[in-house]
């Protein structure tokens, strides 16, 4: 009933089609029977709905003069007054950043409509007020149509229109345009405003005090030369804002000497644009503080509450450490027994089966398949449960939205250690894989800062290194394995921090960098997404095991039997023995050193090589099935926990895989820096490995 009444009483639609030649301000005042209203607003605030309800079929659709942007003009009648309504393009501001903004402001300035009715979305009041702040600086009076109040109420946002009206000093009409509510009030308010029956004392945004004098100077210089119909005070503000269109207009109209002075002022106050816009934001803040009641804390921000802990400088770090600890504990508690089962029954069983099948085959073929393929690549396949659990845990944390918080607190941590803030993003990515970590340093503009980050990137333990840790720690440390793994990660990060501080001081000083990051909302994890992510990562791992690791396993086996068919006298042993003196400082024999060397191709190769070197008896022995499953026993028997810890420390910090080294070469575009990186990591890893081994011995491990 209400809408029917509205249409008959106020929207007495005429059949007149109004052309794009709009009747202006002066005409309305003279006749009192015809007024022009410009309908302004941001996109998607219900402006078109208001226009359609008001004008019905009395619309003319064309283009704005000289533009391809649609122009809609229509009419309605209210209490004997003919209202011409011009639907301005939807804009976020009037800053001449787009043709739409330019059309909207040029129309208001040149045609001077009797009223500008700005439609704003009550559910996004703050965002919508910016346009209003700009409209108030122009000549036409403004009426605010506070639309979508139902949506705002539904979202728990309460706006008091009377308070907003008092704060703004302009009429505010609450509306729900889609339900035809409040539109008659809007039209009535417009006609009353034109008739002078409504108070109109707009509170316009002010510029910061330190630029008021500059603004006054510009006004004094330009005021007399501002062409009609531009308001001189508005022109002065737009000049200070660096508005290209107004600057061009004033350059054309100012005498040369005056323009030179204006230009000098603008050049000296280039950053005033921040103050002008900042003044509008301060004004928005005042308006919303006065009239807007936000939802209560409990409703809004479960995320906020969680983040008080998760992003806290201290609690956030402790939480991250705890999370890593839990991930490793679950990985060991569930994954390690499964890995041992796979090792014993699948790899061992497969070896036994193939052993029988190849009973009459040549000895080299038997050795290649049993020792090289199954003992090497097959051993790596037993990582699968550990990796699946690890990937699931990481996927869960990512999908819940926690990983962004981890990045956030890690950045603070790195800053405390004197690291470059900008480096955190690529370094954090390194937890997954060092290759994108190195490539990701492209976000860093300073070459020296990039180099530093590239040098540090391989010190972030990637999943492949952690898989090796996950395999070896239970062998040497049984139930204490999760703590050791956790400690090794902390050791890596500590070394990274110390290296960062040292290199930072050597390579560059005092450069700051700053980021703003949107932390996504926490949400209930989607198991399908996590499952897909785990599957992709697992498939990638299996692909690597079936290609790169398999090939390296075969090469390692061939080198371990050439030339005499004995591991002890093989080419590989020769290479390994040359490194034995260094290894001895860490309690490692040549086989462990070879394992380290082969990890250069892919980190998992360390285990594959140990599988071959400790499982193989060259080309002279049978009964491989039992031997393949005995790597854990062999390692435990051959090395003390101190040596095991030394090996793990070295492999955490050792030269990264060949793919990462290739990425370093690509990104630094320098063999010198690539060699420096490799040399630095060799030095760091051996120094730390020796220190860890010697310390572990001292404490009796």
């Amino acid at each position: 009933m209400k809408s029917a009444l509205l249409l008959t009483s106020c929207h007495d639609q005429t059949t007149t089609v109004v052309s794009s030649s709009i009747r202006g301000h002066g005409d309305a005042q003279l006749s009192g029977k015809a007024i022009t209203v410009a309908l302004a607003g941001q996109p998607n605030v219900g402006k078109s709905t208001v226009f359609n309800v008001l004008t019905g079929l009395n619309q003319h659709v064309g283009n704005w003069p000289g533009k391809t942007i649609q122009q809609k003009v229509g009419t309605c009648r209210c209490n004997g007054t003919t209202i011409t309504i011009v639907d301005l393009p939807g804009t976020y501001s009037l800053s001449a950043n787009s043709p739409e903004e330019l059309i909207a402001r040029e129309y208001i300035i040149r045609e001077r409509p009797d009223v500008v009715a700005v439609i704003i979305n009550a559910a996004a009041l703050e965002r919508n007020l910016y346009l209003l702040a700009e409209l108030l600086a122009l000549s036409s009076p403004v009426v605010v149509g506070l639309n979508m109040v139902d949506v705002a109420n539904h979202e728990g946002i309460k706006i008091e229109p009377e308070v907003l009206e008092a704060a703004l000093g302009v009429p505010v009409v609450p509306m729900v345009a889609t339900k035809n509510r409040g539109i008659d009030d809007l039209v009535a308010t417009i006609t009353r405003l034109v008739a002078g029956d409504v108070p109109y004392e707009p509170k316009v945004p002010e510029i910061r005090p330190d630029h008021k004098d500059v603004l006054a100077e510009l006004y004094n210089l330009c005021g007399a030369h501002v062409p009609e119909p531009y308001p001189p005070d508005w022109v002065a503000i737009k000049l200070l804002e660096g508005d290209t269109e107004i600057t061009r207009v004033m350059q054309d109209h100012l005498p040369d000497d005056v323009w030179q002075r204006v230009y000098a002022i603008l050049h000296a106050h280039e950053d005033a644009v921040v103050d002008v816009a900042g003044g509008r934001y301060e004004w928005i803040g005042r308006m919303t503080r006065a009239a807007l009641v936000r939802p209560s804390i409990g409703q809004v921000t479960v995320t906020d509450r969680l983040d008080r802990v998760a992003t806290h400088p201290l609690w956030g770090l402790l939480l991250l450490s705890g999370m890593l600890g839990v991930v490793f504990w679950i990985t060991y508690a569930v994954g390690a027994p499964l890995q041992a089962w796979l090792d014993s029954y699948i790899v061992g069983g497969l070896s036994g089966l193939v052993d029988n099948l190849l009973a009459n085959a040549p000895l080299w073929l038997w050795g290649l398949v049993i020792d090289g393929v199954i003992g090497g690549a097959g051993m790596v396949i037993t990582f699968l449960p550990i990796l699946v659990i690890f990937f699931t845990a990481m996927g869960l944390l990512e999908d819940m939205g926690y990983m962004a918080r981890a990045a956030y607190v890690m950045d603070r941590f790195m800053h405390l250690m004197g690291l470059h803030g900008k480096s955190f993003l690529p370094l954090f990515v390194g937890f997954g894989c060092n290759v994108p970590s190195v490539v990701g340093t492209r976000i860093i503009e300073s070459r020296r800062a990039r180099l530093l980050t590239i040098l540090l990137a391989p010190l972030v333990p990637c999943t492949a290194r952690m898989a090796v840790v996950a395999y070896l720690t239970p062998i040497f440390f049984a139930t204490a394995a999760p703590w050791v793994a956790w400690g090794l990660i902390l050791l890596s990060l500590l070394v990274l921090a110390v290296s960062g501080v040292v290199l930072n001081k050597v390579l560059f000083k005092g450069e700051r960098a700053a980021f703003i990051m949107e932390l996504p909302l926490y949400h209930v994890p989607n198991w399908r997404t996590i499952g897909l992510s785990v599957w992709q990562r697992t498939a990638e791992f299996l692909k690597k095991a079936g290609t790169l690791i398999l090939v390296v396993s075969v090469i390692v086996w061939v080198l371990s039997v050439l030339p005499y068919g004995e591991v002890e006298s093989s080419l590989l042993a020769g290479v390994g023995r040359s490194l034995a003196p260094v290894g001895a400082l860490m309690g490692l024999d040549w086989r462990m050193m070879v394992a380290l060397l082969t990890s250069f191709i892919a980190k998992e190769n360390a285990i594959a090589s140990l599988g071959i070197l400790f499982g193989s008896t060259g080309l002279s022995a049978g009964g491989a099935a039992q031997e393949e499953a005995q790597l854990a026993v062999s390692l435990k028997g051959a090395f003390t926990p101190a040596a095991g810890l030394g090996f793990l420390a070295v492999q955490m910090l050792f030269i990264p895989c060949v793919a990462t080294v290739a990425a370093i070469k690509q990104e630094t575009d320098s063999w010198k820096w690539t060699a420096f990186s490799v040399g630095l990591l060799l030095l760091i890893s051996f120094v730390v490995g020796i220190a860890v081994y010697q310390l572990a011995r001292l404490v009796g491990l």
Partner: protein, 87 residues
């Protein structure tokens, strides 16, 4: 308010949008608009696609914040200069 936002960011490191909005007493939606404005003015710039297409090799691609759903912006040289010059 924009100056205050830039000044806080320029202290260095990583700032969460939520924390900045809280400190400035505005909603995150308004902060997003302020960030857009500062990008338009050349004081901030969005960081995206930083890994140069290395995502396929990265196990963190799914939850990556570089070019992911949550935006990241960095202070530009112009932003840094302005905050250095202003008290």
């Amino acid at each position: 308010m924009l100056t205050e936002l830039l000044r806080r960011v320029a202290q260095g490191g990583l700032h969460s949008a939520a924390a900045l909005a809280r400190e400035l007493g505005v909603t995150e939606a308004l902060l997003a608009q302020m960030i857009d404005d500062l990008v338009g003015m050349g004081y901030l710039r969005p960081v995206s696609g930083g890994c140069g297409g290395g995502c396929s090799a990265c196990s963190l691609a799914g939850g990556c914040t570089i070019g992911g759903p949550g935006g990241i912006w960095m202070l530009t040289g112009k932003g840094m200069r302005m905050t250095n010059e202003k008290p």
